[in-house]
Symmetry: C2
Subunit: 225 residues, 2 copies
DNA sequence: ACGTAACCTGAATGTTTACTCATAATAGGT
DNA sequence: ACCTATTATGAGTAAACATTCAGGTTACGT
């Protein structure tokens, strides 16, 4: 959702330690409130209430409700990006096999979404975001796809010629399915471990699949040289 | 989202032809309005406006805004179910191969979501649904998983022992990814055809994969240096 | 200890919303 | 042509909401 202009920067940035803590409280409260009520029903008064501050204080640091959502989303983008790079670092350093790498990736993303499974979706899909933020979300995902593609290049069993497209599909699949699982864990047929294994299996099968042949014996447990 | 009680049935059901048409107009308008504005910002007045009827007329047939959403969702569930069964019918009758079957399935689901890509998500995730409807959505998905599993049993190259779990993962993957693609087609690296092919490839690879291990440790030490 | 900038308060404001109701128009049977 | 159930109207109502503001309280430099 993209929509019209609105103040996003606070008139007064927090200066003292007290007010920095207040801003953190507000953001934490907003995350909780949006998570449980959605964007529209997550009222500013409820947020202020839960944060233990008055509504006036909230508007001292955030010029609008939308600004709070944007701040939360920007924070989430940075977290995800950091996590992805940590993962790549580990994989390169410890020379895990493709299967282990995928398993680790899925596990990490599932963990990320387990805390507040709905928040990300609410911020991206229910909130009227300014164009700038919408672009940032897109770019973050494309960067992720490139990063994953870069890692996949290290594995010889990955035979895709269009690595970036494969990376994009991997990222989107993991993003969607872990999100879904985290949001409704008790409505699933599989246990958490089973889910991670199945998803990693699917990705491994896809990535090490050589197209023309009908069925193919995988090279199990293969490792990078 | 699940929430408190509210009237869902109209006091007066439509009797004459005129009013049946009106009810259809209202539902069509509601689909459009929810699609573009989301649930909360999709106001009943806007819906009545777009339907070309007065707000009073709308409340003659739908006792609440929520009732409109529920009606739309129920209609969607029925459509999806019908489509799935048609697909299974075709596959069984024409004895397509696994690859062709998956290709067809993905294509059909992508088509289903191309019309109003956001509507389904808005109804399920943004709308406070009564428990009954929420259950119906879940059941529909589990039924779909069973149906797919039944079809997969016909293909010898599918080696999964837990067919229903595999079916569930297939359904969820297709649901999530086609939805995503339909909602943001111009933000994708791949063309529509390419996307369908890649997704079908991934599913085929997963389903015909003979697994090297039962399970796997996520931690380091899985590969000798 | 004092002054002032930073910080906090919450009642008040104007807008938006779902929903009601008294009344008017219309269709279809007789 | 007439009668009545059905269908349509839209101004009006109460509640909920984001945001403002005038006036308090607290921390910090000096």
């Amino acid at each position: 959702m993209t929509a019209r202009k609105q103040r996003l920067e606070p008139i007064k940035p927090p200066v003292q330690r007290r007010s920095k803590a207040t801003v953190d409280e507000i953001l934490a409260a907003a995350a909780q409130v949006f998570e449980t009520h959605g964007y529209a029903a997550g009222t500013t008064n409820r947020i202020a209430d839960r944060a233990g501050v008055s509504i006036g204080t909230l508007y001292q640091y955030f010029p609008s409700k939308e600004a709070i959502a944007v701040a939360l989303l920007e924070r989430h983008i940075i977290d995800t990006d950091r996590r992805l790079h940590e993962w790549v670092g580990h994989m390169v350093a410890e020379r895990h096999g493709l299967r282990a790498a995928l398993h680790d990736y899925v596990t990490g993303m599932l963990e990320m979404h387990s805390g507040r499974p709905r928040l990300q979706h609410i911020l991206i899909e229910e909130t009227p975001l300014p164009e700038r933020v919408h672009k940032a979300v897109l770019e973050a995902e494309q960067t992720a796809a490139k990063t994953v593609a870069g890692l996949l290049r290290l594995y010889p069993e990955v035979r895709h010629t269009q690595l970036e497209q494969a990376g994009s599909l991997v990222v989107q699949t993991v993003e969607s399915l872990t999100h879904r699982f985290a949001a409704h864990p008790d409505e699933q047929l599989m246990s958490r471990e089973r889910f991670i294994n199945e998803l990693a299996t699917m990705l491994e099968a896809y990535l090490s699949y050589s197209r023309p042949h009908k069925s193919r014996q995988p090279s199990p447990g293969s490792c990078p040289p």
